[in-house]
Symmetry: C2
Subunit: 364 residues, 2 copies
């Protein structure tokens, strides 16, 4: 296996890493993992390239599914949507697409970029726009740093193609979400068209490599029954500024859940075993803020992820159930998402939570 | 005033005729009449051309607003939407638009074509796709006779432009309606791109002239206190196959109203004065079926219109109120909408009403 590529045998660890980076959201990695594995077996490995390898004017597009958190994908449909949106974008721009990139590395959309790269026969850039997953498509470094999502090309599993153009990335998000709802709560979007220099300036770099390292670390922790945080810290050591913390170990004692405006909202509650200390985590698709006995211990944009205490399998916000034994891990968000400009878009207040961002590791 | 043009002084009669042809729907003609009048004063008359004047390959597009029945329009917004959608379509096709045409002559959208012609400086073709108004954009002669609505170009009052492409005209209708809802229940659509020969083959011809004749006839009936049906029959005499009937005269005694799936549904009830005979009319945006004492006297696609008994002003399905003195008039639908292929799309059963089409005049 060349280090600069992903083949079928790598899908499991890539999927595990993407799931952890999803902060409880970003869509299911299981179905998309199956689609990706099958495509890689049929078409061979997909090249992964560093942003530095892109020529100044190389044409790069971001890709991802937009819709309900748990995406049911069938292979044929995924292919049709992915190829028709990419083809329509290429025709619209009058240029060949040189590489694709995940809009969000977290959850299933971290894998979607590899499906697109495999189908189109182009490399995947080792970068994304969120370093995790967020509920809205405009909560992305490209939008934060002034890039336009226009034109955004959307395809449905029925072969429909919709092109959305606007000066406002927020309005594009709203219009694409309306199209997604009308298309059965799932569509494939190609957006944030960029050239090589833009990727280097405003993407979150190295995140597909990070996802694979995390996946490999989790596998090692499982095999050797080691602490996942210890292996994660080692995995993250080559990514300066990234910090991992074990937030909590215990048992789920409750979860509220409400669907509103196309998003899932709720609160997860857990207790230590034996009881003594309580954890609560609020979510909007993704886990946003964690409190231990009322005291804030992690907030968005830092990643908050739950895993099964025994299997170390990720548990998304949709998968929380009473009685689960869990470990809660936090990973500090990448630098690009922790600037004042970024916090206005992805910090707690952007989600209506009246507190300031407090980086994990700053008080523990 | 040259006979082949519309100027500011003609707007009132054109609007009156479009309102009557709306079968109770098609959107308000008042606000769009103001916008059109102002544009005609500023830019001069708009040429109206017969379909026979179009060259074989002249590029013609259909235009209309999609959204809530009563459209609130401000002039600046209307201009921006109309021009940006037409401009985007022209760029998409790589061709200049030679003429525009109303998607539906009924209601405000009969006037929209003239606003588009005025702003773009191109003629309006004396034809439309419905000969009246229908709730869905695919209930149109072009779709019935095999033409594609793809690509459809949509613009919002915020300057967003959305292009929808699909093999299915029904899916384009659904996606455009979703975009309209997300854009505040109003957007401007350019669709059913055609060449001169297509217009001659599958448009409902002569309908802007018909609307003006109806408007002029209503004005004469008002001035001379004549029966509107008698003057309408004279106005329609030059349109072979068109037949007008007075269905009922009386007083509104009730109206139910429910909004479901983006449409208005309900039933209007009226009685003769003095009481003796009762009328009921079911509607989905447009009036669809009229019964007198339980017996069906008119059904879609024939036009069923209500007017104030004194002023002969049109009363749309949204404007029905208890106590109004009304006249109910029916006009037989154009031939193109009465074929078996058309009735499958616009006949009573297409609206879930379990009866066959029964042309007015066939039993009275």
């Amino acid at each position: 296996m060349p280090s600069g590529s992903v083949n079928a045998a790598d899908v499991a660890e890539l999927a595990d890493g993407c799931a952890l980076l999803g902060s409880g959201g970003g869509g299911d990695t299981h179905a998309l993992g199956l689609v990706l594995r099958s495509s890689l077996i049929e078409r061979g490995p997909v090249r992964v390239i560093d942003a530095s390898e892109l020529s100044e004017h190389a044409l790069v597009v971001n890709v991802g599914f937009v819709g309900a958190p748990i995406i049911a994908v069938e292979k044929l449909f995924a292919e049709r949507e992915v190829l028709s949106a990419l083809d329509a974008m290429s025709r619209r721009l009058g240029r060949k697409i040189d590489a694709v990139m995940a809009a969000e590395i977290g959850g299933g959309n971290g894998l979607t970029a590899f499906i697109a790269g495999s189908l189109l026969g182009v490399p995947v850039v080792d970068a994304d726009g969120m370093g995790r997953a967020f509920p809205q498509s405009d909560q992305i470094s490209y939008s934060i740093y002034g890039r336009s999502a226009s034109p955004t090309m959307v395809a449905t599993d029925q072969g429909d193609v919709v092109c959305v153009e606007s000066d406002s990335n927020r309005r594009i998000e709203q219009l694409v979400r309306a199209v997604s709802a009308a298309a059965g709560h799932k569509c494939f979007a190609v957006d944030y068209v960029m050239e090589g220099k833009d990727v280097r300036n405003c993407a979150v770099l190295g995140t597909t490599t990070l996802a694979r390292r995390i996946g490999a670390a989790l596998r090692m922790a499982r095999a050797q029954h080691e602490s996942p945080v210890q292996v994660l810290e080692e995995a993250l050591s080559s990514h300066p500024g990234l910090v991992a913390r074990m937030l909590f170990e215990g048992k789920i004692i409750g979860c509220t859940h409400e669907t509103r405006g196309g998003f899932s909202f709720g609160t997860v509650r857990a207790t230590t075993v034996p009881a003594g200390s309580e954890l609560s985590i609020d979510f909007q698709n993704e886990f946003l803020i964690a409190r231990r006995d009322g005291e804030i211990i992690a907030t968005t944009p830092d990643i908050i992820s739950l895993m099964d205490a025994d299997t170390l399998r990720n548990i998304g916000s949709e998968g929380v159930r009473y009685g689960q034994r869990i470990k809660v891990i936090a990973i500090r968000a990448p630098e690009l998402l922790r600037t004042p400009a970024a916090l206005a878009v992805v910090g707690p207040r952007a989600f209506g939570i009246g507190v300031d961002y407090r980086p994990i590791g700053s008080s523990s």
